[in-house]
């Protein structure tokens, strides 16, 4: 029997087999127990709704709204909830921007969308963030065009987040004139992302931005200084004793057959964050002043073990007091008083 170090944010899990995919799931307990609603979403109404909770007519419980975790949509029932002995005459209505389809993604070597990915989707499409992004990047009028922002996702994996941002650019950024791109160390993630985005765009042509293509590389290393306007990063944030090595030459190209060890290596790169789970994220934060434009904004996902308050403090101290701002703009419910996952917005 082997016991794996578990994600300190989760309950300990012991596995009999040594499969790394299970190990990854062990780190992220909630994704194993589908259906699981992110705890911030288990309330009576969607976070973006101004409506007061409406109780079910029969049981008086606030269950008319329900979050479909897999499809990432809120379902609203008319009068009665799904309680025992309630009549099932009402068809729920789905409301929200749909999640891009990632059914083609090989999850044995590419990170499967999970609670962290969906928290990014929810946060970036929340009223407060769309208002912030629109005021920063939308053209005031057609006659005075503002330069189309470049949106970059670092480490897109399946591509679900950048596909969502591309397909719903009009809703999120206040206009479709947005360029999107992504960079990942894994060639399989690059290929998956290109396909996920193309699919999502073809289903949302009227609201989509312009997808340029995924690039393979380390963090933001090939991007020109000052070129990125919106950067999104769901890092490998799990604390681990060591960082995995970058992909060797044999893993830098697409191929039909990979070994179990190669798949394990690629998955390890998606979650293993080294000391405090921050080694990779710290490198990205260090690169932000160089790669972000003057109006640039970064959204970085952190878990409780990353010591988010200290991270925000470090960002606020960059380049002298008051130059950089860092605020938490999205959270996945509390556990023992701690926010398990949170999204930090970083901007000048």
């Amino acid at each position: 029997m082997s016991t794996y170090a578990t994600h300190p944010c989760e309950a300990p899990v012991t596995f009999l087999c040594g499969h790394i995919f299970h190990k990854r799931r062990a780190y992220h307990g909630p994704t194993m127990q589908v259906p699981s609603v992110p705890s911030s979403l288990s309330g009576a109404v969607p976070p973006w709704s101004n409506n007061a909770p409406v109780p079910c007519k029969l049981c008086r419980e606030n269950k008319l709204w329900e979050y479909d975790w897999r499809r990432r949509v809120w379902m609203k029932k008319d009068n009665v909830c799904n309680g025992n002995n309630h009549p099932k005459t009402h068809h729920p209505t789905a409301i929200m921007l749909p999640t891009p389809d990632t059914s083609h993604v090989p999850y044995q070597r590419v990170y499967e969308p999970a609670e962290d990915s969906f928290l990014l989707l929810d946060t970036l499409s929340s009223p407060s963030e769309t208002a912030f992004l629109s005021s920063r990047f939308a053209s005031p009028s057609p006659s005075s065009p503002s330069p189309a922002p470049l949106v970059l996702e670092v480490g897109p994996g399946s591509g679900v987040v950048i596909a969502f941002l591309t397909a719903h650019a009009s809703t999120i950024f206040g206009g479709p004139h947005v360029l999107t791109t992504a960079i990942d160390v894994s060639p399989f993630a690059c290929a998956a992302t290109n396909l996920t985005v193309s699919k999502a765009v073809s289903e949302n042509t009227s609201t989509s931005g312009f997808w340029t293509s995924a690039t393979q590389g380390d963090l933001v290393s090939p991007f020109r200084p000052g070129s990125v306007d919106v950067l999104v990063f769901n890092p490998p944030y799990v604390p681990t004793p060591d960082l995995p090595a970058p992909p060797p030459t044999g893993l830098q190209e697409l191929k039909d057959k990979t070994t179990f060890e190669e798949d394990s290596h690629l998955l390890e790169l998606t979650y293993a964050g080294g000391r405090d789970g921050m080694e990779t994220t710290d490198r990205l934060i260090e690169a932000l002043p160089g790669v972000l434009s003057e109006r640039g904004v970064a959204y970085i996902l952190l878990c409780a073990q990353n010591k988010p308050e200290e991270v925000k403090g470090r960002i606020r101290a960059m380049g002298g007091e008051g130059k950089w701002k860092a605020e938490t703009v999205g959270t996945s419910g509390k556990q023992a008083g701690w926010e398990k996952l949170q999204i930090v917005r970083v901007w000048r």
């Binding site: 065009p145 004139h177 290109n194 312009f210 340029t212 995924a214 590389g217 380390d218 090939p222 190209e253």
Partner: protein, 127 residues
């Protein structure tokens, strides 16, 4: 990778960032493909202000496209000059580099482009 991407990318080697020769990267043995995309003048007008025009001219010539005018067109120019609009649309939005190499003019490092994805991972001695 869309040709437009070449306008945002430079050599991944740290020491090359400060050199003017590292941008734009020079395509070599490039195999191109063309996606059919509906022309969107408003998008082009919004994209142009963030394009480094001199670099785009170089890229255009190196990929065998017609030489672009020396100065970037204004929004009014674009709306009245349909030929230029089409040309830019084809170059920036439709053309993809599928195979080949991207070469840094400063350090000479060659980045491979395969299946439309450029690989900017550096060998350990260059990191």
């Amino acid at each position: 990778m869309k040709v437009m991407t070449l306008n945002f990318l430079t050599c991944a080697v740290k020491n090359c960032k400060s050199s003017n020769d590292s941008f734009p990267l020079h395509p070599k043995e490039a195999e191109l493909a063309k996606d059919d995309i509906e022309i969107n003048p408003q998008l082009l007008i919004n994209v142009l202000p963030r394009i480094d025009w001199a670099a785009l001219r170089t890229t255009s010539t190196e990929l065998g496209f017609p030489t672009l005018p020396e100065q970037p067109p204004s929004p009014e120019d674009l709306q009245s000059d349909e030929a230029l609009l089409k040309e830019l649309h084809e170059l920036l939005m439709e053309t993809q580099m599928m195979e080949g190499k991207l070469v840094c003019g400063h350090c000479g490092h060659e980045y491979a482009v395969k299946n439309g994805v450029a690989n900017f991972l550096l060998p350990s001695h260059l990191v």
